[in-house]
């Protein structure tokens, strides 16, 4: 299946290849999870604070549907 992955914050710096803001087109095996996708990018899981699938918060074990837009964001503080 094909998905689009968008990276935020400094995560593009930790991706193993070139990245532009329109996102990455990635082929994944059916049933792949957020954790599988993280591993496929080469980004250490602990760097990814928050993930979403099609605009909804997702957990590491969540399965990614075909043609999904996945976003990885770094961990944040604020105020």
């Amino acid at each position: 299946m094909n998905i689009t992955l968008k990276l935020y914050g400094t995560l593009p710096d930790h991706y193993q290849g070139p990245y532009d803001s329109s996102g990455l087109k990635i082929d994944l095996v059916d049933g792949a999870t957020i954790a599988d996708l993280a591993d496929a990018t080469g980004i250490a899981r602990q760097r990814i604070g928050l993930a979403s699938i099609n605009g909804r918060l997702a957990k590491a074990e969540d399965t990614i549907p075909d043609h999904a837009e996945v976003k990885f964001m770094p961990s944040l503080a604020g105020g």
């Binding site: 935020y8 604070g49 928050l50 976003k71 944040l76 503080a77 604020g78």
Partner: protein
């Protein structure tokens, strides 16, 4: 450390030694305790009996990084309760290096007269005429003031909104480049300053009074460890310098907590166009500055300079709260328009958060379509010219709601919400409802602790555990605002010794042991003083409630409402 008392009624300027009860205090503790002790709570916030207090944080002027916070306090004309709003820039460091713990502004100038407080590099203070600064916007006010007193002065001033005593009026303060782009925005304190006839506070940046620290070596060692932890942290060491606080746009939007179209939705379809990443790329492509030092002693450099396509300065610094207030909250995905609105608010002297709320309520009531950035810019310009509609906007969302008879007004104690919807982040619901400050995010930011992805252990969409979480954070923040550590530099607490570093610095400065219990007692002392003032001003538990929209309207996309009970809200500060 000394107190400077300035009376506008008789134009007297008097120095006082710091009284015993104020020893060991700074920032919010000083402003709130002085106001609570000296201002009659039922008095008119814009009248002669209110007092405006400026106090640098307790650590300001020391070697500790990111401690250039100035607390400004008074009875708020917006909330009717006590208020502390703090601001960065150069003023806190400058005051501390002149040995000044607080400036207490009293009385009211004769009708039609305007004054400024000037403190030179030797610490000589005077109350000078500012009649020639009347009606000036803040950038022009700073330019004229620095021509008179020199470039080596920090200027803290009001714009037309403050002069008109509008309820969203801010107090603007200069950054390291001498631009009045730092705001003590919340609570309408600019109106208090305007009501007194005080246009500006002008302070030499060349003071050389060393800070009072009993155990210098201990303090320096702890301060160094703290700074190293701030720089080593990914958020303050890498993300903030690159993207500023706007890096929060995408994750808060993903969490469904980015109030959109006057909080009708929790996600904004235009979020990508106004995200920190887009902002940084835009600034970089145009030759602006994505990494910029705005405040004295800052090692984070989260500020930026937003420029036009041709590279001309628009504003500094474009931050998360303003991007939300002038973006998602009014349905506007035009980053250039947001930057223009940010500049206008700074220049006119109004709070971007309250003004974004006011625009959102007006749009929601049908005055304009959500996303109409031209209408937003026109309305904010009208604040300065004083049209009926401009005056309404300048008086904030509650005034706008009343005018349009529109009940979707996201305020608590009349103060507009910040950039985190309380429905999917119910810890923020408790902070918004119970803070003595009104609907304010900095009083107890528990967003990270409400999101499992950020290491939070409390489910943001449920009420369980939220009261305790908010209470502890509000007490902690009252102490943080007292010592004056920048919110974004709290990453220093993630160092090896954690809070121990701060306790060590407190003990070293005071010359006695200081423990975690002392820190908590300090925070509680501040909040108690604020709650007591508010009770004397007539506040009851009924004021610690969110508007009905947050209890009754499920927020898309997660379709949750605030479920924290009134009884639980009332147990937040049961002391």
């Amino acid at each position: 450390m000394k107190f400077l008392r300035v009376n506008l009624t008789n134009q007297k300027v008097v120095w006082e030694d710091c009284q015993e009860i104020y020893q060991g205090l700074g920032g919010r503790a000083l402003t709130s305790i002085v106001v609570s002790n000296e201002v009659p709570a039922p008095s008119d916030a814009l009248g002669i009996d209110n007092k405006l207090v400026f106090a640098p944080g307790y650590f300001a002027g020391t070697t500790l990084v990111n401690t250039s916070r100035l607390s400004v306090g008074a009875k708020s004309p917006l909330t009717g309760g006590i208020k502390e709003s703090n601001v960065g820039g150069t003023v806190a460091f400058s005051l501390a290096r002149l040995g000044i713990a607080a400036i207490v502004v009293e009385g009211k100038a004769p009708e039609g007269r305007w004054f400024l407080i000037h403190i030179d590099k030797t610490g000589v203070a005077s109350l000078d005429s500012a009649d020639d600064l009347k009606t000036l916007r803040t950038y022009a006010c700073v330019e004229k003031t620095q021509k008179r007193y020199g470039q080596d002065t920090s200027v803290t001033c009001i714009g037309p909104a403050g002069e008109m005593q509008l309820l969203s009026a801010s107090i603007q303060s200069t950054d390291l480049d001498g631009r009045p782009c730092r705001a003590a925005g919340r609570g309408g304190l600019g109106a208090v300053m305007g009501g007194k006839g005080l246009k500006a506070l002008v302070v030499s940046t060349r003071g050389k009074v060393p800070p009072e620290i009993v155990k210098q070596d201990e303090f320096k060692a702890a301060a160094k460890a703290y700074a190293q932890a701030v720089l080593a942290d990914e958020f303050s060491g890498e993300l903030l310098p690159k993207f500023g606080s706007a890096v929060l746009v995408e994750p808060i939007n993903a969490a469904g907590a980015f109030p959109t179209n006057n909080a009708r939705m929790g996600q904004f379809t235009g979020a990508e166009k106004i995200s920190g990443e887009t902002m940084a790329a835009t600034i970089e492509a145009r030759g602006g500055k994505t990494t910029h030092k705005g405040c004295s002693q800052c090692v984070i450099n989260c500020s930026n300079e937003y420029v036009t396509e041709s590279g001309d300065y628009v504003t500094s610094s474009l931050e998360y709260e303003t991007i939300w207030a002038m973006g998602g909250m009014i349905g506007n995905d035009d980053l250039d328009a947001i930057a223009r609105l940010d500049f206008l608010c700074d220049d006119i002297g109004i709070d971007t958060i309250n003004t974004g709320n006011a625009l959102a309520v007006a749009f929601d009531a049908g005055y304009a379509e959500f996303g109409d950035s031209a209408a937003a810019i026109r309305l904010v310009e009208e604040v300065a010219t004083g049209t009926d509609m401009g005056t309404l906007i300048g008086n904030g969302p509650a005034a706008v709601g009343k005018h349009f008879k529109h009940d979707r007004v996201p305020t608590v104690k009349n103060q507009g919400m910040a950039a985190y919807d309380p429905r999917p982040l119910q810890g923020m619901a408790v902070t918004y409802a119970t803070s003595p400050m009104g609907m304010d995010h900095t009083a107890g930011w528990v967003v990270d602790k409400n999101l499992e992805a950020f290491g939070g252990t409390v489910d943001g969409r449920k009420p369980d555990g939220q009261v305790e979480l908010s209470r502890n954070t509000q007490i902690h923040m009252a102490a943080v605002d007292t010592v004056g550590i920048c919110d974004f530099a709290q990453s220093g607490l993630a160092g090896e010794q954690g809070m121990g570093t701060v306790y060590t610095m407190m003990g070293a400065k005071l010359g006695k042991d200081f423990s975690g219990d002392d820190w908590t007692k300090l925070g509680i002392r501040v909040i108690k003083a604020e709650l007591e003032f508010n009770r004397r001003a007539g506040f009851t538990n009924a004021d610690d409630r969110l508007p009905a929209m947050f209890y009754n309207e499920p927020l898309p996309p997660y379709n949750v409402v605030v479920q924290v009970s009134d009884e639980d809200m009332d147990s937040t500060f049961d002391f």
